[in-house]
Assembly symmetry: C2
Homo-oligomer: 340 residues x 2
């Protein structure tokens, strides 16, 4: 592997000059720059990351703490991971994976060893054992998710409250007066995922305002328990039933249960799920969705992180950003009565 010294020699300049050509932190004459760049190309020189990190005290690596809760919809997590990695590259950073099974100690490790300059935590819970650690770390930390006490932390998430409101408003506008909201699976609820409460609060707010009834039902991961849930929802509904299923795994099962009950979404029942536009369109009956915008949340998380890294002002930052959700009507919900 060639070093900057080799480049310097090939270009007939000092090593420091090569460094300045690369960083632009001092003026360099056009002539010298050309020479150096030619030498770099010719040797296919690439700066050594370790040496760079050692000298500059910046690794240009961001640690990404990924959850691995089997109950969660893996596909959506992958969407976060993928977008975060791509976006990081746009800011000339790389992503180091930190798995949950190391727990909070993992955070201390990667920061302590100075493997990365900052951390992004996914799937932050209401009360998260990682929060005290996150607060005490001397590197920027961005949370995806809002803990119960976000003080001293930088958080970003989809606006679940808005999402809940949008769903209820949309169904109410379609003429529904009784709406069943299927909760996340109990395994997830028990982890005190704060976004669940926010979503439910949104549905209730909108319901109270519009004078419609919202029924909260427990979610479930298996066909049978979810079938019971659905039947309960159906039993308590007098008009055309409406379901909101904000979780990916739940909605897959839901649609099957409904069809086994002889109900067709968009005709004698309304269903709103959560999925990307692409996925929604692939369903047998195009699914009306509430888009929680994982891609946008990911992009902004990385952006915030990189801003914090650039600013590198030490003060304990604190901020909270909510990404607006988007509701999209498709064939799985009743059409609003036209006219009037």
């Amino acid at each position: 592997m060639p070093t900057s010294k080799d480049v310097a020699q090939a270009a007939g300049v000092a090593q420091s000059t090569v460094s300045y050509v690369l960083s632009g932190k001092r003026p360099i004459s056009e002539k010298t720059r050309k020479k150096v760049e030619a030498a770099i190309d010719q040797l296919t020189y690439q700066p050594n990351a370790g040496a760079r990190a050692l000298a500059s005290r910046k690794t240009r690596v961001i640690g990404l703490v990924i959850p691995f809760i089997p109950e969660l919809h893996m596909a959506s997590i992958m969407e976060f991971v993928s977008v975060i990695a791509s976006t990081a590259r746009q800011y000339d950073h790389d992503i180091l994976l930190v798995t949950e099974d190391e727990g909070a100690a993992g955070l201390q490790r990667v920061v302590g060893q100075q493997i990365c300059d900052g951390l992004i935590l996914m799937q932050v819970e209401g009360e998260d054992e990682r929060l005290p650690v996150a607060r005490s770390l001397k590197v920027p930390v961005v949370l995806i998710g809002i803990p119960r006490d976000p003080s001293g932390l930088v958080c970003i998430d989809a606006d679940f409250e808005m999402a809940g409101e949008q769903c209820v408003r949309d169904l109410a506008a379609a003429g529904h007066t009784e709406i069943s909201v299927i909760d996340w699976q109990s395994e997830v609820v028990d982890r005190h995922m704060n976004y669940i409460d926010r979503f439910m609060h949104g549905t209730d707010t909108a319901a109270a305002e519009l004078g419609v009834k919202v029924l909260h039902l427990p979610g479930g991961a298996d066909h049978e328990s979810l079938a019971r849930t659905v039947d309960k929802g159906l039993a308590e509904t007098t008009g055309v039933p409406a379901f909101i299923a904000p979780e990916g795994t739940v909605q897959d099962i839901l649609s099957r249960v409904l069809s086994s009950r002889g109900l067709t979404p968009g005709v004698d029942v309304s269903v709103i799920g959560s999925a990307s536009p692409t996925l929604a369109a692939l369903q047998p009956i195009p699914l009306s969705t509430i888009d929680l915008r994982p891609g946008e949340v990911s992009r902004r998380a990385v952006k915030i992180m990189c801003q914090l890294l650039d600013a590198d002002t030490q003060g304990p930052h604190e901020s909270l950003e909510l990404v607006p959700t988007i509701i999209t009507h498709r064939a799985s919900t009743l059409r609003p009565p036209t006219g009037t």
Copy 2:
């Protein structure tokens, strides 16, 4: 951040002694070791990764090149990623994410900058633009997937041929003589994923041997095109139809199509899908599955990589490892006739 020099001072020894305590590469007296370890604890010292990499020429980081093909089943990719990361930690290594959108240049970058000691490539295609690069790199590369020409490469994958055989044998044993194999979606097939051919070859081999008929049908990502495919399969079958759907996204849709055709898996149709045991059990009708063992493949990939890194013998290694697949009977396939 404390350095090994600080530790040395606190323990009253030389910096090099601290280093030897940590690495164990030279004998250290019990007394000195205790002193040093106490100082390490007290200062909560952690070695600086950059400096370590610079001096030792080892980063203890493995680059993981993840695909991001929307057509692929994201959930299963996440399974790979997650297990790879956890396993790497067991070997005291970390995982750096390299996204596909950098293409082959991304590989050169992370290796050239010496951000990582080796690469694991996921989702390797039959003809992959990354292969020539992989061969030319001077670091170990492990491929998950088998390219058409695996010479000079270290590959590991599930034994798709065995999987195809197992599926056909299993259905034949249950009395089926006509079996429909639903291919991967055309977007995936067009990428020349070698595993598809291997799977199909396995089904054909077994079919020829057992004297049963295998019908290959195109997959599809949407309900409508897959429905056509299924109908074609049904039309060409005289007895009880049997379907093999080795792809996650396809099988989800398949089950709905079948139920909309009035067919019940395990009763008047057999279905074999691919899923982890946990997922399979959650289906409305527990799904008979061919387990392609992503977790095991991931673990072995990391293990191979770490062995290559330890051995650090330079010679161009070459190997090919196939992980046996596991077929599991559940309720979605007919029971084999008992007795005789």
